[in-house]
């Protein structure tokens, strides 16, 4: 429950880039999609880069595969932990390759091509010292996640 409390007092790093985290359902990235051009975007741009028309907000899911990762051991920015991990993640539904934070508690477990699952939680601050909600990927796939949810009897409270 302490994490839930934190969630309520922290602001999201950038509005509109994730969904499904406030209500305990599955966190997913939100990007954009232009149906005319069949193009996906993350983050959602003002306009489709092909046709310059506004794009629809699109659920990009919370699952991906690790394309590259590294561990940042220098003095971290934005109150992030030292060390922390980042990587490029290939998103399952859209095929987009996105830069993202990786779960800093799993630094020793990252392997290329491993499945990842999105979390949204307080990680670092917003630049003015306020706690900040950031999306990050953790090891694990949808299947694992579903099992876990079954184990705990539902998705409302999760403490990974």
């Amino acid at each position: 429950m302490s994490e839930t409390t934190e969630l309520k007092h922290a602001t999201l790093v950038t509005e509109g880039i994730v969904t499904g985290y406030e209500d305990g359902s599955r966190p997913r990235l939100v990007g954009g999609y232009c149906p005319d051009c069949a193009r996906w975007y993350f983050p959602c741009p003002s306009y489709c880069r092909s046709c310059l028309e506004p794009v629809q907000a699109a659920d990009l899911g919370g699952e991906g595969k690790l394309h590259a990762f590294t561990v940042i051991r220098m003095r971290p920015p934005l109150g992030l932990p030292q060390p922390y991990a980042v990587g490029y993640v290939d998103l399952k539904e859209s095929g987009l390759r996105v830069f993202c934070l990786l779960d800093p508690s799993a630094i020793d477990r990252y392997r290329l091509d491993m499945p990842l699952r999105l979390t949204v939680s307080v990680l670092g601050h917003d630049g003015s010292g306020q706690p900040c909600l950031r999306p990050y990927f953790s090891p694990g796939d949808h299947h694992e996640d579903a099992e876990k949810e079954t184990d705990t009897g539902g998705g409302e409270v999760r403490d990974e």
């Binding site: 990762f69 561990v71 940042i72 051991r73 220098m74 934005l78 992030l80 390759r97």
Partner: protein, 388 residues
């Protein structure tokens, strides 16, 4: 572009200059370039000034006019250009374009940066960018590339280290380089880890620095050479290409498409290929960068950059010396000045004035610069080909 020449260059030693204001450093480099070119302040028709950080660090702006007036240049158009690590080389491309078009006979580029101040903080792609807010500091983008390159091509930590060792060995021969004490592969690999697998000695250091270039039309250079002082030693600009990222998704992290495109466009414009080059300055912001740039420049096949470095082919005395100046890794990297400092080195090499680090008989040289991380691509790449 064969009608544009570099008439003169000048720079101050890169390093710590706590007693000098940015404008003072820039003016010192500008004055040196004017004297080297044997050009009077009143002959300069357009001035370009490049800087990356002074607005943020010192609340200074519109600095170019101040710099040029310090060397007696006023009234003419002065352009203030920012383009991350390629600030000075982008300014050079603009200047070349104006000279090539006959809009001015003589143009000048001055780049300067002052970084050794407590306010510097971490270098990033812009605080409002989502990637920055998600923790993308500058070395991380390169480290991710290194990891993919190692995974796909078997590039080793020893090969990465070889780049840092070589550039430091070169720097020992360059009085304008910031770090000149030799280092060993062991030094490199045992240095504190910054971002896996890049240790501190694989990341270019900050620097205070300034560098300047005087360009002119070939007609002006011929007239000046005939009419006067004999000191005029023009170097031909064969290509000056600037391009920006494609930002395609997904990006292949083992090379920058933008880098390859920039190099290809420059070779086409210059009418040369990698086999024609005698000396290269490239944007070795990190050891992995130099390896990737070898491949983009066609100095070796894709994936072979690490082995090229390890074999010593890019060292002074090797097949194609890269970064004889010491590169960003040992000269230091003041973003506003680096692109101009690279040109200073290539000009010195092509004139045969590089002293103990001279590449014998160098006739064709290339200066390559890249800057700005965006969508796993680079925001800018500049490639300049010079010859005598």
């Amino acid at each position: 572009m064969s009608e544009v020449v570099i008439l003169g260059v000048g720079m101050i030693p890169f390093g710590r200059h706590p007693q000098k204001l940015l404008v003072e450093m820039a003016a010192e480099a500008a004055r040196a370039a004017l004297k080297d070119a044997a050009v009077e302040p009143g002959e300069v028709g357009a001035g370009f000034f490049s800087n990356g950080l002074a607005a943020r660090l010192f609340s200074d702006h519109t600095i170019g006019q101040n710099v040029y007036w310090e060397v007696g240049i006023n009234r003419i158009p002065i352009y203030n250009i920012e383009n991350a690590c390629t600030s000075a080389s982008t300014a050079f491309c603009l200047a070349c374009g104006q000279v090539a078009a006959g809009q001015v006979e003589v143009a000048m580029v001055v780049g300067a940066e002052k970084m050794y101040v407590p306010e510097l903080g971490l270098i990033h792609s812009g605080q409002s960018e989502l990637d920055t807010q998600l923790g993308l500091v500058a070395p991380a983008g390169f480290a991710l590339r290194a990891k993919r390159h190692m995974a796909e091509f078997g590039t080793t930590e020893a090969q990465l280290a070889a780049v840092a060792v070589k550039n430091r060995r070169h720097a020992a021969l360059n009085p304008n380089a910031q770090f000149r004490d030799p280092i060993t592969p062991e030094d490199v690999l045992s240095a504190p880890m910054v971002v896996d697998p890049l240790t501190r000695l694989q990341c270019c250091p900050n620097a205070d620095g300034a560098a300047a270039v005087v360009l002119a039309s070939a007609d002006f250079a011929r007239w000046r050479r005939g009419a006067s002082r004999g000191k005029v030693r023009p170097v031909d600009v064969r290509a000056a290409v600037y391009c920006t990222g494609s930002y395609a998704n997904p990006q292949d992290l083992t090379h920058w498409e933008t880098d390859e495109r920039g190099c290809r466009l420059a070779y086409e414009a210059a009418g040369v290929g990698p086999e024609d080059l005698n000396v290269v300055e490239c944007h070795d912001a990190f050891t992995i960068s130099e390896i990737l740039h070898y491949e983009a420049l066609g100095l070796c096949p894709a994936g072979e950059g690490g082995r090229l470095a390890e074999a010593g082919e890019t060292a002074l005395g090797g097949r194609i010396p890269v970064n004889p100046s010491g590169g960003l890794l040992s000269r230091g990297h003041p973003p506003g000045a680096t692109g101009a400092a690279q040109l200073c080195e290539i000009v010195a090499q092509l004139r045969g004035e590089a002293g103990p680090r001279q590449v014998p008989g160098a006739r064709v040289g290339l200066a390559h610069c890249m800057g700005g991380d965006k969508a796993a691509d680079s925001k800018s790449c500049t490639v300049v080909v010079l010859s005598v």
